[in-house]
């Protein structure tokens, strides 16, 4: 189980990077000057990407701790 937890750490780091990439790419594709939906406006994207960067960093950090075996023991 500890080995799975450890190697899944790499997956969490990858997911964190992929989430930011997905958000930035989606923002570029969906912001449209004449769009009427929220996803077409720049402001929601700016807010979401700004707030999501530290969350993604947190997920990557979680993945790093998991990879280092920091969660191997039951601590909660």
């Amino acid at each position: 189980m500890n080995t799975i937890k450890k190697y899944l750490g790499i997956v969490w780091i990858f997911v964190a990077v992929a989430a930011i990439f997905f958000l930035v790419q989606s923002a570029i594709h969906n912001i449209k000057p004449n769009g009427t939906l929220d996803i077409n406006k720049p402001m929601p994207w700016v807010i979401i990407i700004i707030i999501f960067i530290p969350i993604a960093v947190g997920l990557a950090l979680f993945g790093w701790y998991a990879f280092k075996g920091e969660y191997d023991k039951s601590e909660s």
């Binding site: 189980m1 799975i4 937890k5 899944l8 969490w12 997911v15 989606s26 969906n30 939906l37 929220d38 996803i39 406006k41 402001m43 929601p44 807010i47 979401i48 700004i50 707030i51 999501f52 969350i55 947190g58 997920l59 950090l61 979680f62 701790y65 998991a66 920091e70 969660y71 039951s74 601590e75 909660s76």
Partner: protein
């Protein structure tokens, strides 16, 4: 000797009885205040259409921009910031005064929204409404952690899940009360009076509720665990640094977020709000019928917050919360598909229909003249469809007869009532499984001296950010090529699935001492 023992036994029994009475006072005072805060936060969302009309006209780019900012910043930025700000305050000054302050800010902001002159008479109003909405988000960010911590620190070991679950009912009850108040005001007034001034009443009512709650809370004592720490001089001087700068605690904050609150937030939002939007916008179900049926489902399902909170004391928090997430991942698509099919007119036989056509000559100078075709269809099962198709007159004249806008509203026959209520019940039942035990779970994860700060942030990121993103990401997925009416569910299902995997692997069922 015998008399002495008897007195001691009586004194112990009295003390036990007093403690029991006291815990119910604590739960009552905390829950009522938190319920009012949720009520205040929801009425702004429930009355968003009329607020936009009065304060943020879409024809003005500046006010439209402020409206977007009010929607997104209040949930995504200000709530987590409020969690940090008030969490820190609560760990330094104390729980009682901090969540009194959040109540005053929330109630005051809500009341002032109700008093605000409209944009038509006061051009600065949109800016003030934005500030007041941000204050609401800030107060909500601070309230929940305080109330949950306060109740948990009064609760005896082994009953935290049960006692804190009463706090967990407040988010659903706040939604329920806000719907009841709005529907009552709408039905008591004429449409003109409601549009003119009646919409302000739900906001103004808040001040009375808040005053009552403040009076009740003022009479309560500080949390015993925090008082003990304070008297020993062991409170934290820098809760933010100790919460997020300390590696051992930071690991727990990350685990709480990615292994519990992230999944809980999306399940909560999907069950309580996305289902409502799905029924009204995607299925076209009539709004009052939808809200009434949701209200009935909420009455039946709300007690399950307490049931699962109580059960979590017996069998552990982790199993219940993760089961709720797993069931949500498995059942969301079939449930939403069935709700859609119940409302789908393709599955019905038409019994009678009437068509009315009206012309609107230059309704708006920016567009040409319009032709509105309204069809009233009655089906053999007594369900009714109101189909409104809007055509451009110029395009009609050159045989381009596709409608530029189509709106369908279906009113289902009463024999479908329990099917829809049943599905809503199941969706919110998943919410009760993930949300009922979470306050006790978070409280037990962190030590008393930094508990308010440490538990508030993952809770509000999980609910405010991951949960709050559900409609936005769902729209994003739905407009992508190859998507269908169920595609928006991939986001909550994906987040809940990741959270389930993290939770099952990394979380332990072992409970912390709570000290």
């Amino acid at each position: 000797m015998y008399v002495g023992n008897l007195i001691n036994k009586n004194a112990a029994a009295c003390m036990k009885e007093n403690n029991k009475n006291n815990i119910w006072k604590v739960i009552g005072a905390s829950s009522v205040g938190t319920l009012i805060e949720w009520y205040d936060f929801y009425i702004f969302g429930s009355l968003a259409t009329i607020i936009s009309e009065k304060f943020f006209p879409s024809t003005n780019p500046t006010t439209a921009f402020l409206a977007t900012l009010a929607t997104f910043a209040a949930g995504f930025i200000v709530r987590p910031f409020g969690a940090l700000f008030f969490g820190r305050l609560g760990d330094i000054v104390g729980r009682k005064y901090t969540f009194l302050l959040t109540l005053v800010i929330m109630g005051g902001s809500t009341f002032l929204i109700g008093c605000m002159p409209t944009y038509a008479s006061f051009s600065f109003a949109p800016y003030l409404i934005l500030i007041l909405r941000l204050l609401q988000g800030l107060a909500l960010g601070g309230e929940y952690g305080g109330a949950a911590t306060y109740v948990a620190e009064h609760a005896p070991e082994g009953k935290r899940g049960y006692y804190t679950s009463w706090i967990q009912t407040t988010a659903t009850l706040g939604l329920f009360v806000s719907l009841i108040v709005i529907i009552t005001v709408q039905k008591s007034l004429s449409k003109e009076a409601y549009n003119e001034w009646g919409w302000r009443l739900p906001f103004l009512l808040s001040i009375f509720l808040v005053i009552v709650s403040i009076v009740i809370r003022m009479k309560m004592n500080e949390s015993p665990l925090f008082s003990k720490l304070k008297s020993e001089g062991k409170t934290s001087t820098n809760p933010l640094k100790e919460s997020f700068g300390n590696k051992a605690n930071m690991k727990m904050v990350l685990l709480a977020l990615f292994g519990a609150t992230m999944g809980q937030g999306v399940v909560w939002y999907t069950g309580q709000f996305y289902a409502q939007t799905f029924l009204i916008k995607t299925c076209g179900l009539e709004a009052t019928q939808t809200n009434t049926w949701i209200g009935i489902a909420l009455i039946f399902v709300t007690p399950f917050f307490v049931v699962f909170g109580w059960l979590s004391d017996k069998i552990g928090r982790k199993g219940i919360m993760l089961t709720g997430m797993l069931l949500a991942v498995i059942c969301y698509r079939p449930i939403f598909k069935n709700m859609y099919e119940i409302c789908d007119v393709k599955n019905r036989i038409e019994a009678a229909s009437t068509i009315t056509t009206t012309k609107k000559i230059n309704p708006n100078k920016a567009t040409d003249s319009l032709v509105v075709k309204t069809s009233n269809v009655v089906f053999t099962d007594s369900s009714k469809l109101l189909l409104t198709e809007t055509y451009s007159l110029e395009k009609l004249q050159i045989n381009l007869n596709a409608p530029i806008d189509t709106k369908k509203t279906i009113t289902l026959a009463s024999n479908y009532q329990w099917n829809i209520i049943g599905y809503i019940f199941i969706l919110v039942l998943f919410v009760t499984m993930v949300y009922g035990p979470i306050a006790a779970f978070l409280v037990e994860l962190f030590p008393t001296k930094i508990r308010y700060t440490s538990m508030s942030l993952p809770y509000h990121i999980g609910n405010g950010v991951f949960g709050g993103l559900v409609p936005f990401i769902a729209t994003l997925i739905t407009v992508s090529p190859g998507s269908d009416y169920l595609s928006g569910l991939w986001y909550p299902m994906g987040v809940a699935a990741v959270c389930f995997v993290i939770g099952i692997l990394y979380l332990s069922s072992k409970k912390a001492s709570g000290e």
